[in-house]
């Protein structure tokens, strides 16, 4: 697992002495013949904002439901706070969940909804009232407390659902697509609120999402899931800058993938003979043998126009601008090389669009630096 080498603070997941708060051991869940969760092992630490990210059907929701106890695993164990909870029913787990549909009880008011969990714990009336007040305050929904769910807007429902699942002061909160039902603008505001709330309460959050932007902005760490398996677990930056496989590189953002073969190692760099006909020099800490087929992944914004052609021609591509997508702040250029390869480059629009140098059908040379991408072996 690669991670940022220049991180100043040692995070809990990097500290070998820290005990994980949630420990998932070789967890498998089969539905019929389908593996929804396939031999997943995972540690989540206290105070994390952990996201399970993947496309629909990748098993992320099943993993969350296994944590909540709403599904029983086919094999494997789950430990929460040092206790094996695999056989503990959902109503006895120290975990609460916010459902994707919010699952607010339609026959109860906001207050009664929040009270429901407290009642199950047989808390005294005074304490329950205090807790409800605290939650209403925390989520700024005090004026809504006598309303029923069908009298609330989508955003209000989301807050009530959050209040209800936080009311029992769980150590671990599970959130299934917490922002999925909100419209785009509300979603962006709520993202930050959710992060603030999490930092304030110190509760460990585990969310499930299919929205990479959401996962990138909110999470301390992200697990990318595909076909029931975890492909990579890392911080958002590391996931984006240092994907460990082709799937992750392509899943997050857009990426140029250039195939090639290692021909030489020079210190912490390797020289790669590219299939498009040139040479690439990339930094790599992995011990590749000479002759290993590899793939170089470079983000489009790490590409730049080559102002001074010539030199050794390493990390360079020459082609014709085939397509330009103007997005306002940036433009995406698609460049077709002589060998038929299509490379993507993003440039910030410093000049107004009309005055830009690069235009359709124009010859262009693009280049990148050895530290701006990663070398993947699959």
């Amino acid at each position: 697992m690669s991670s940022l080498p220049d991180r100043r603070l040692l995070e809990s997941w990097q500290d070998p002495k820290a005990a994980p708060y949630v420990r998932i051991e070789r967890l498998t869940k089969k539905f019929g013949d389908v593996y929804a969760v396939d031999d997943v092992s995972l540690n989540i630490f206290q105070g994390e904002f952990f996201s399970l990210l993947g496309s629909s059907g990748c098993g992320k929701s099943t993993l969350l439901r296994l944590l909540a106890g709403l599904e029983y695993p086919t094999s494997g164990r789950i430990h929460i706070d040092g206790v094996d909870v695999t056989d503990v029913p959902p109503y006895s787990r120290p975990v609460n969940m916010m459902f994707q549909s919010y699952a607010l009880f339609p026959h109860m008011t906001v207050e009664q909804n929040i009270d429901f969990g407290l009642r199950q714990d047989r808390l005294p009336r005074r304490e329950r009232a205090e807790r409800i007040g605290e939650m209403l305050d925390l989520l700024k929904i005090t004026p809504l407390r006598k309303r029923r769910p069908d009298q609330l807007s989508g955003g209000q429902r989301q807050r009530v659902a959050l209040a209800r699942s936080l009311a029992k002061h769980p150590k671990l909160l599970l959130l299934d697509e917490p922002l999925g039902a909100l419209d785009k603008r509300l979603r962006e505001n709520t993202q930050f609120e959710l992060v603030n709330l999490q930092e304030r309460l110190g509760t460990t959050f585990v969310t499930v999402t299919h929205d990479q932007e959401e996962a990138m902005t909110m999470s301390s760490r992200i697990a990318i899931m595909e076909a029931g398996q975890i492909m990579q677990i890392d911080t958002p930056t590391a996931i984006y800058e240092f994907p460990n496989c082709r799937f992750v590189a392509e899943f997050i953002g857009s990426v140029n993938l250039f195939e090639g073969k290692i021909v030489e190692r020079q210190g912490d760099q390797v020289l790669i003979e590219a299939q498009f006909g040139g040479l690439m020099r990339m930094r790599s800490f992995q011990p590749h043998a000479i002759g290993t087929p590899v793939m170089v992944a470079i983000r489009p914004e790490k590409m730049r126009l080559c102002e001074t052609p010539g030199g050794d021609g390493v990390n360079r591509l020459q082609g014709i601008v085939e397509d330009i997508a103007y997005l306002g702040d940036v433009s995406i250029y698609r460049i077709r090389t002589g060998s038929g390869l299509l490379a993507e480059m993003t440039l910030t629009n410093i000049q107004p669009r009309t005055e830009q140098a690069l235009t359709w059908e124009q010859e262009a040379v693009i280049e990148w630096s050895p530290t701006s991408g990663v070398v993947l072996t699959e």
Binding site: Y91, Q100, F105, Q120, K168
Partner: protein
């Protein structure tokens, strides 16, 4: 789609007229002084008076109401259990069998249900000595048997439409399965339980054929009294009774409609 076509509208009007004219005429003639339907000899409440002094009919009505109420209550419990089984227990062994057993009573001709139950009761009486004689209990059992299938249909569709995550959320908040059922599931399917109860009550109150088979001496239900008097031809007392039934149903529907609108 927005434009209404005339042929369609006229069929609709004809259909409703077909459904309601006979009942309306029945009501009208319950207030007729004369015994003959063709003659209107003036407004009168005398048939209602006679109805209220018809001891045999009132006894039968009371018996029928008691049977119907007990039947509806038991059928709601059993029908709800069956609906739970079909909606919440997935693909258990014998599921197809249960579905079959719950659909068959909906369409099975009354004569067959009645005859077969009677033969069962007779055999049981011979072999285990129960039921001791036929009447209230045997009619109620027979009615429960087909009513529960109707209740299951009503409750099942409500349960199937209910969001499962509501129950999961309750469990996640610490409620045990029984609490979840009592505090979340039951309140949410309550309207279906009520309409199931009313349906079972009406079906029981309405049944002539099955009750005739499984009833014994001394136990005469309201439909049996109506039937024997109707076989003789038109009877103004029955018109009056029909009017009372319609009025009762109308009041119940209005109340139900108002309470639903308030929600």
């Amino acid at each position: 789609m927005k434009r209404r076509s005339w042929p369609l509208l006229s069929i609709l009007v004809f259909g409703y007229a077909f459904l309601y004219v006979p009942i309306l005429l029945l009501i009208l003639y319950s207030f007729n002084e004369s015994r003959l339907v063709t003659v209107w000899s003036g407004f009168s409440l005398k048939w209602y008076g006679e109805l209220l002094h018809n001891r045999q009919l009132l006894d039968a009505a009371w018996l029928s109401v008691r049977i119907a109420a007990l039947n509806a209550s038991v059928a709601v419990v059993l029908g709800t259990l069956a609906a739970n089984a079909l909606v919440r227990h997935g693909r258990f062994r014998g599921r197809t069998g249960l579905e079959l057993l719950l659909t068959a009573p909906l369409v099975m001709p009354d004569v067959i249900i009645g005859l077969s139950l009677l033969l069962l009761f007779v055999t049981l009486q011979q072999t285990v000595g129960w039921p001791d004689g036929r009447g209230f209990s045997t009619i109620t059992i027979a009615h429960i048997t087909f009513s529960l299938a109707y209740v299951a249909v009503v409750v099942r569709s409500r349960l199937a439409r209910m969001d499962v995550s509501l129950e999961e959320a309750a469990m996640d908040l610490g409620a045990r399965p029984l609490t979840v059922y009592l505090r979340i599931t039951l309140p949410l399917i309550a309207p279906a339980l009520l309409s199931g109860w009313l349906l079972a009550f009406t079906l029981s109150l309405d049944d002539l054929v099955i009750a005739s088979f499984v009833s014994g001496p001394g136990a005469t239900t309201l439909p049996m009294v109506i039937y024997s008097s109707v076989r003789m031809g038109v009877s103004p007392q029955i018109n009056a009774l029909a009017t009372l039934v319609v009025a009762l149903v109308a009041v119940a529907v209005v109340i139900a409609g108002l309470s639903m609108r308030r929600r």
